[in-house]
Symmetry: C3
Subunit: 353 residues, 3 copies
Amino acid sequence: MTKINMKGKNVVTTQELSVDEIRALLKLAAEMKGDRYADKWAELMKRQTFIMFFYNPSLRTRQSFEAAATELGGHAQFIEPKAMRLKGVKKGDLEVAGETIHDAAKVMDRYATGLGIRILETSVDNYGDGNQLLREYAKYTDIPVINMADDIYHPCQGLADMLGMQEHNNNQPTKGKTILQTWAKGALARSYCSVHESLLINSRMGVNVKLAFPDDAYELPKDIIEKAKRNAEEAGGTFEIIKGGDPKAAYENVDFVYSRNWFGKDFYEIGKAAEIERASSDKYKDWICDEEKMKTANPGCKFIHPMPVDEGAEVTREVNQGPRSIILDVAENRLHVQKAIMAMTIAGYEVEL
Amino acid sequence: MTKINMKGKNVVTTQELSVDEIRALLKLAAEMKGDRYADKWAELMKRQTFIMFFYNPSLRTRQSFEAAATELGGHAQFIEPKAMRLKGVKKGDLEVAGETIHDAAKVMDRYATGLGIRILETSVDNYGDGNQLLREYAKYTDIPVINMADDIYHPCQGLADMLGMQEHNNNQPTKGKTILQTWAKGALARSYCSVHESLLINSRMGVNVKLAFPDDAYELPKDIIEKAKRNAEEAGGTFEIIKGGDPKAAYENVDFVYSRNWFGKDFYEIGKAAEIERASSDKYKDWICDEEKMKTANPGCKFIHPMPVDEGAEVTREVNQGPRSIILDVAENRLHVQKAIMAMTIAGYEVEL
Amino acid sequence: MTKINMKGKNVVTTQELSVDEIRALLKLAAEMKGDRYADKWAELMKRQTFIMFFYNPSLRTRQSFEAAATELGGHAQFIEPKAMRLKGVKKGDLEVAGETIHDAAKVMDRYATGLGIRILETSVDNYGDGNQLLREYAKYTDIPVINMADDIYHPCQGLADMLGMQEHNNNQPTKGKTILQTWAKGALARSYCSVHESLLINSRMGVNVKLAFPDDAYELPKDIIEKAKRNAEEAGGTFEIIKGGDPKAAYENVDFVYSRNWFGKDFYEIGKAAEIERASSDKYKDWICDEEKMKTANPGCKFIHPMPVDEGAEVTREVNQGPRSIILDVAENRLHVQKAIMAMTIAGYEVEL
């Protein structure tokens, strides 16, 4: 028996947690899901404040974090930094009047016992700047900083995915199963963070990963791919990249299909309009998850997606709302894994493995 | 003795509740008002989340629902769907990228134990579209959906009105009393929902209803009138329409006066500016509730209004802030009836009649 | 022993509290800080609603009030009146359609047990109009109104300052110590309220006050100065005005330095852009608190500021983030004094002196 203690730990990406910490969070989340409103959870954040700091608004993330704090006996404050006059994080801006990140973070450290931050690509100039800003807050706070999605990582989504996959694998670890992570067409120019986190946590936990996308334009950042490959080696799984060809072929021997749009690697240069125009090209018209492709996969193959789903583009309604879809369970799991993260990092709740 | 159980029931309009359910809600609301912060109410939504989904913002509705959830031991989340990328409800919009109502509703169903929705005429194209959208959410959720006002109905307001009228009728049922529901001038182009609900619940509970308005332009939708007439017949009350003439004449033999502006029946075609111009015409200058008219009514006649009041147009300050006015009691009752609705539909609290 | 009871009392400025009431609030705030999440505080606002009414948004004020209500067992609603259609407070506006302050206040009085209001110079036409509007709400409510900063006063900041100064004076009363309140350059055209409140509470509690500013443009309103002088006389302290000269000279014999920008006395006529241009003039370049000036002060002299700090203009990073700075303790104290105010005025918690 090992006791896992994460008190005070920041959660920036599952990649920076130990495998045991990931297991402990999943175990606690499952237990919390099984007995959701039990009084035993209500002492964990009793009358404490969790600050949700949204550089980018998000309905689902807000709903699930706010409910998580409530269910732990605390309260989550919904804050948008646009109401603040903060000194910028961009190089040339140091002389702008306003408060430093240092000061803003240090004060929140006094008022709250946990700090969630969400900052996506639309709030920054360059890939990675959002993650860097989040880490700057974390540098100045003693309270745990929890990543509510940035421009690289999304640990809560990764954990919710993994919990959902376990639930639909007879509540067994998913090691040895295979997931297809496939690019999908669509007009939403979606961010990388959920896709990255899925690649990282799946490869980490020994799930075989097939990553499919149509062409060079939709290659994912090299450092993420390198990390996922190393994860797979260490966990004894496989990591396969399938560029181009018939999107259906990639579905063979697969237990879970994760079909989602993401923007191209030149997105930060070309911008959203150009990205949407490209992704809407007729040449990508088959990059949608449909029942026909699903029949190529293993029997009982499930459809997984971090939601919101762009139905009719990323996946057909038949699959999305059909018996293969586990998206609602995964969405619900956001709540439970976030409760587990808050319980372990903020309250120091210990989990035995 | 009958035990009334409304667990899981949606509350779209009082018209779709049974008379016994209305009585049970009023009885519980009065009891809650009498012992507002008692611990016994605090278990009903303990650490549960109620989502307030505001297509149209509203201060009072938000304040009263948020306080209601707090007083029941829960927490109300203030959510504005404008932060969401939702597929539209309008016909031509089906191809717009974004999430379906189905998916959005199904996820809220997982996070919360109750869902309030507010959607008024300014958020939709045609009369009734708001109500239809609300019903679409209700179709996909297992948790109760509570109408926080749509473009047709406003059940919480109707119940609050009725509770206030009872309080000012020596805490006796108002059957046999008479209410004048009169159009009033003003520059606010006000929605129908509160007025409709008042007509429906009063006629339902056996209150005699006089509906007065100046001319054809301000006729109310036929289906509401038909329902109210049928309600009156079934309850043994009267329902009288007074079109035009001296607005003062309608005050005779009346116990409650409800004077409020509403927009004309061609509002959805002519729009707000044209409506306001028409309603501001000099020919309507006497359509205001004042002390002189009130003297024509029965002794002790009360002034009722769902607030916010457009003082100086719908009613004089003398009446609005004078001893006849029961508006503040009614406004307070919003809180209590909403607590009762949440207790009965969400927590399954049973009321004996 | 005196028992101090403030139940139902409005807190508009510390100037309108008795010295004993100020002492009681500081004593309770210190006790609450020492045992922050104790169950004994959780009954004080159990399931009650505190309305935070923000004519001007403020992150810190919101965070600290919302946390304060949570820690007392209640819930703070974040409300922005811009969502309301209110009749204006300005003279010519009486005919505007919308709700009266009377009605809005009377309804909040029913829903909540306390009302915080924030209204700064940018929401009104003339100096003092914000304070007048706040007093109008207070006139109509029975529940306590707490000033969350207006265009003249900021009692919570004044109390937080004083508590922080005591903490850094070996937890002893600060009577007989000396504070330098100095104007600082900067491009933020800052409001008077924190500075006023500091002058008033310091002079009231017997702290010697030195008020320094560069020239006639930055004179503070006469009525505040007169009150502060009278306070000093009554408390047996000194009150000194230093206009112009070397900003460093004012640091002599000082125990606390409060360096902050404020806008000029003609701000309401010239507006923000002109004020910022003037304040940025090169002739003010030495009006910054730096380590060199601090060395002129008494040994152990502390830097105090209500935050957010405009680092590099009002104070150097060396001082602001260095060992002299007590700004974070003061910011944290906002929470504790606000809890004490709510406990005493809303819950009637009594403090023995």
